[in-house]
Subunit: 210 residues, 2 copies
DNA sequence: TGTCTTTCTTGACATTTATCAAGACCAATC
DNA sequence: GATTGGTCTTGATAAATGTCAAGAAAGACA
């Protein structure tokens, strides 16, 4: 689906729709009044990425934060000519290179669109200004980042205590659509195994797939 | 060394000394005026833990945040009667069960003193009040947690891209004292390998130890 | 539709790591 | 100074996972 579609009436509807999803997301993470939610959401502007476009590149500076409305992004680094996929972002999640956005340090991750994507974006200037418009902002964001921290703790735990097969099962239960949407080699990398190993795990009759 | 020592003159000196270390730590993380640093530090009260004491237990609620002045804490969970060590906290670091402190949910981790420990502690009530005394607090804490997030990202990356031996080498370079101070089985677990594997890695002539 | 490219699967084999069990070491205690 | 409990090491073996190479399948595109 080409990007030209997003214009005129379509663009308008897209915008309304995405705002709602973004507002919903903000709502579930932060228990705050509707007004404030709209205030926050109003800082975000619609953007599109074509398949293959980079949202962020290692070494550059990432100066935006985006809510993914539609499409998939892959977060990865290139290490000795091997790519290591750290995560795949699906609709409903935010993407950014956190340390780069917050401390203006070089980005640590490549973030690339795996498909055509619709996002809602806030740039650094506006990002730095939310706190003035909405005094609770820093506290809300603190809580949000703390949640992300907790998720990463869980992720570390999976590597400390689970086998490759167990990690596969966990991801499959949590997000089976992913397996139809992205190349398995990326999922394998993100699970800390080779594509061959993932393929073999999925072949086992005892293991769920598709 | 018994805990009775921490009384009278000793207690006083300990307090001054720990404050300095805490203030120094705050200083390196947040570039803020001396006054504010002291203000923050003044919320923290000295405490001691004896070897084996629990700072936090899974299932309970963790309602404090502590700065480790002296001694070691182990963060772990019990999983199918096996213990999984997530991390070992050394002097200069903060300990807490973040999600439990922040959201008052059940603690996810056990945090136990591996040695007699001196810490500086803030309880939940005071923790929730800092923001009123020091308006920038939430932003500072947000940045601090974001740094912790980044460290965890790196930790995930080590599991995605490195062998057991490489992870050992990395930790050994970063903190070789640890190997003299805590049972190797805990370090092995934290590195995602069995004690036997760690022992064999350390036996190799090509690998640094002691 | 056919061609080209990428991704997935499979097999054979190598390597890494885990498991189990026994003994060595070390430090605390009576 | 023997005993005990905990930890570390070592060996034998098994299991899990990685590597390399080839072919199959699936998608992308003209």
């Amino acid at each position: 689906m080409g990007r030209e579609k997003w214009s005129g009436k379509y663009r308008k509807e897209f915008q309304i729709c995405i705002m709602t999803a973004l507002e919903q997301n903000i709502n579930t993470h932060f228990g705050i009044p509707k007004d404030d939610i709209s205030k926050i959401a109003s800082f975000f502007k619609p953007e599109t990425y074509a398949k293959g476009d980079y949202f962020s590149k290692t070494g550059g500076v990432c100066n935006k934060l985006s809510f993914v409305q539609n499409g998939l992004f892959r977060i990865f680094v290139v290490d000795d000519k091997k790519e290591v996929t750290q995560w795949i972002s699906t609709p409903g999640y935010f993407i950014t290179d956190l340390s780069s956005l917050m401390f203006q340090t070089p980005a640590r991750w490549n973030i690339q669109a795996l498909t055509d994507c619709d996002v809602y974006t806030i740039d650094r200037d506006n990002y730095n200004n939310i706190g003035r418009v909405l005094p609770q902002w820093h506290e809300l964001e603190k809580r949000f980042i703390a949640k992300c921290f907790t998720i990463l703790e869980d992720r570390v735990y999976t590597f400390l205590s689970m086998t490759a097969e167990e990690r596969y099962n966990m991801l499959y239960e949590y997000n089976r659509e992913l397996f139809q949407q992205v190349p398995q080699q990326y999922i394998a990398s993100m699970l800390g195994m080779t594509p061959e190993t993932l393929s073999r795990i999925r072949k086992k009759p005892t293991v769920p797939r598709d």
